[in-house]
């Protein structure tokens, strides 16, 4: 079922994108707002008005205090004589309800569960890496374009090599971003380093883009003494204060409300920056997702919610995760502007995040981005996804829909990249990685003292006592303890 959905979704991508582009007729600045929903009904003036009136002042809309209602004034007199009965009212009846005017209607219309057509998906590059004619996107310089490309390749190679290292038993766990390289790198490229990143776990490319070195990645995966997390967390739980990248936490979706709080701080400090949080399709089912979106809308925070809809949450397909039209539609229910984007199209992701960032910061509002993509790898090294999804589905996305080769075609089509440069890049990155792994592996682990630091800002007496007791035990039974952890 999920397989079908994904196949359908992908085949419709192009048609939908074309349709959406057709609507982008006249250039209206800024271009990206052409497809944005109409200005929200629940603007500040309406809120002001309802506050003055108090909650739930049920009355016919007389228009006495609102300019917007003035047009209805003519009809008011006649309406005034009808009984105070909502159902009998005509179309010109309304109530002033917190949030604005609500019209009464005589028909009993249930809202449909979904729109007739699925929300379309923004795309710039077609499957052959050519820009779709008339496509509107944020220009990228040759320099940035090439950096994006090489970081996507680097991420891919890093995944391959670390995955292999786990298979060899050299690291305890790994999880790849295969198939989501464009999302990782292109979204990062559209941000500024001052923007705060609150990741899930499948976005190491954002950190890579910001300058986290392959050695730093390796240090974390090996949990050695140079790992900023001091060997305490499982591999792939990267974090860097220097690079404004909050440390990964395994519990799903917990970072979403944090992002809203962080964004509020940026706004209070009048920073030219936003927060961005990444999460999967599965993550949208958690209560934290809903709490975060609602808070973000109400607090008017500059935060980008970036959903990587990759079709799967471990073995659970999106058809068993939600019945809405994906994730983007949820935004509207919370009063949040959103866009669906082809997650395997680096230029589309770049442009969407660039625009989202602009709106988030200048207008002080959250933006929801849903990127359609596919988790090409197993969920993690603890998983075998062929148990629950067809191999040809995986193969289709791994080959025909690969975001890196699509983007490479575009870069190469511009005459910016050659096969020689490609092989040079790949062998250089591979060498660097193998070197990084060797160094990380030989590096001692953090010392036993670090077991007790950072629980609090200072070590309390119970932990001092336990530290001492532990040292006595290690002295007595050295064979029980790993030799690469200095005591």
């Amino acid at each position: 079922m999920a397989a079908l959905w994904l196949a359908r979704a992908s085949s419709q991508l192009a048609r939908r994108a074309a349709r959406s582009l057709a609507r982008h007729g006249e250039p209206s600045p800024p271009w990206f707002l052409a497809s944005a929903p109409p200005p929200p009904v629940l603007g500040p003036p309406a809120v002001e008005r309802s506050r003055r009136r108090g909650f739930c002042s049920v009355r016919r809309f007389a228009g006495e205090s609102s300019a917007a209602a003035a047009a209805a004034a003519a009809a008011t007199a006649a309406v005034e004589e009808e009984p105070e009965n909502g159902f009998a009212a005509g179309a010109d009846q309304a109530i002033d309800f917190p949030g604005g005017k609500v019209s009464f209607v005589a028909e009993m219309n249930f809202l449909p569960d979904s729109q007739r057509e699925r929300i379309n998906c923004y795309r710039v590059l077609d499957d052959d890496g050519r820009t779709i004619s008339d496509s509107k996107f944020q220009e990228v310089s040759k320099e940035v374009a090439l950096k994006m490309y090489s970081e996507m390749v680097t991420l891919q190679i890093m995944d391959t090599i670390f995955y292999e290292a786990q298979r060899q038993g050299r690291i305890s766990f790994y999880l790849t971003s295969n198939g989501e390289e464009a999302i990782n790198i292109a979204s990062a490229a559209a941000l500024s380093i001052d923007d705060i990143v609150l990741p899930q776990y499948r976005e190491p490319g954002v950190l890579l883009w910001r300058g986290f070195t392959l050695q730093e990645f390796a240090n974390q995966c090996f949990g050695n003494k140079l790992d900023y997390g001091k060997g305490r967390q499982m591999p792939i739980h990267y974090g860097s204060n220097r690079l404004n990248y909050f440390t990964v936490s395994s519990p799903i979706a917990t970072q979403l409300p944090h992002a809203v709080g962080a964004a509020y701080s940026l706004k209070m400090d009048k920073k030219d920056a936003c927060a961005i949080t990444y999460f999967g399709d599965g993550g949208t089912s958690e209560g934290d997702f809903h709490a975060a979106l609602n808070f973000a809308a109400v607090m008017e925070t500059p935060v980008i919610f970036f959903c990587r809809n990759n079709g799967w949450a471990i073995s659970t397909p999106t058809t068993e995760q939600f019945r809405s039209d994906g994730v983007v539609v949820r935004g509207q229910a919370y009063g949040i502007r959103g866009i669906r984007v082809d997650g395997n199209d680096a230029l589309a992701v770049y442009s969407a995040v660039h625009a989202a960032r602009e709106m988030a910061i200048t207008e002080g509002r959250p933006i929801l981005v849903e990127a359609l993509t596919y988790r090409v790898g197993h969920h993690s090294t603890s998983d075998d996804s062929t148990k629950y999804r067809p191999i040809d589905e995986i193969e289709h996305w791994r080959t025909a829909r690969d975001p890196i080769s699509r983007y490479r075609k575009w870069v190469q089509g511009n005459g910016w990249w050659s096969d020689a440069e490609e092989s040079e890049l790949r062998s250089r990155v591979r060498k660097e990685l193998l070197q990084a792994i060797q160094v990380a592996e030989r590096m001692p682990k953090p010392s036993v003292a670090e077991l007790f630091t950072d629980v609090y800002d200072q070590i309390p007496s119970n932990l001092r006592e336990q530290d001492q007791l532990l040292r006595d035990t290690i002295m007595k039974h050295p064979a029980d303890y790993p030799t690469d952890v200095p005591v």
């Binding site: 305890s172 766990f173 949990g223 001091k230 060997g231 305490r232 967390q233 499982m234 739980h237 936490s249 395994s250 519990p251 799903i252 599965g282 993550g283 089912s285 958690e286 209560g287 934290d288 949450a313 471990i314 073995s315 659970t316 068993e320 995760q321 939600f322 603890s382 998983d383 148990k387 629950y388 682990k445 953090p446 036993v448 077991l451 007790f452 629980v455 119970n462 932990l463 336990q466 532990l470 035990t473 290690i474 007595k476 039974h477 029980d480 303890y481 790993p482 952890v485």
Partner: protein, 368 residues
Amino acid sequence: MAARALREAGRRRRGWAAEVGRRCFSGGSAGAAVAETKEGAAGGGKAVNLFTAVNQALHIALDTDPRAYVFGEDVGFGGVFRCTTGLADRFGKNRVFNTPLCEQGIAGFAIGLAAMGNRAIAEIQFADYIFPAFDQIVNEAAKFRYRSGNEFNCGGLTIRTPYGAVGHGGHYHSQSPEAFFCHVPGLKVVIPRSPREAKGLLLASIRDPNPVVFFEPKWLYRLAVEEVPEEDYMLPLSQAEVIRKGSDITLIGWGAQLGVLKEACEDAAKDGVSCELIDLKTLIPWDKETVEASVKKTGKLLVSHEAPITGGFGAEIAASIAERCFQRLEAPVARVCGLDTPFPLVYEPFYMPTKNKVLDAIKATVNY
């Protein structure tokens, strides 16, 4: 003892379950409905590992009660620990299904389902991820019966969840959060130590007319293998078991920690110290009498668990036994537990209440 504990439910249970209508878990009669003890049932059966024993119990639970349901994240394809393998195929997607990724939803849904007279067997993928469901479990499930004056109850609820260290789980795939739930009147907390125990205790938990949080030692899912009777049987809740007789000191633990304690007992015996080992099995309401009787005999007590020592359930046991056996205690109650830190990856061997830590504590207590 084990033989006495093993109970066969079989056909009689099937008939009973079928007669249960909606909202019928109020009477506390499930215990009474348990069929006669079948001596010798402890032996026999194929040697299986712990996840297979859990899987057998779930097959039986679904088979013997048409109002039983099994669900949770990734349960449909067999679960990330393979405990639910084959269930969806056999019992259909209406009774065995994936849920959205939402623990509060899983627990809340399960409570509603149970309150309508069903057996809701919910899986939380890791005990580390049970906390989004904490409100539903603590404020709803635990108080459902009490707050309504027994007008309503969700006694058909069982939450299964893997807990504890695995060697490489770090912060969020290793925790032992049992003590949080032991602080909640209205819940039962059960932790098995082996495949045979897991099957019998899980079936008893599922059929117990109270909400139960059932922690499964994930380190033992594949590691622990023993003969498990193939038939339907239950082991009694709130009954501890003396699994090794001794005279010098009493050791208490539960779940995977019993393996460590057993080894410590054997090593202590070489040094001439005779340990009595008790598996508590049900943490609340717990079997104080068995523990008390043992401590009155040995005069010394050691409690051991993986969870951090401060505020762990060991503290409750130590306090209760100090109250009840003050005159008989010849040494302070020893606790060998996890450290008061988050569960660390690289430092896991240092964090753990290892055999040698237990042995040192045994010696210190015996020589007090």
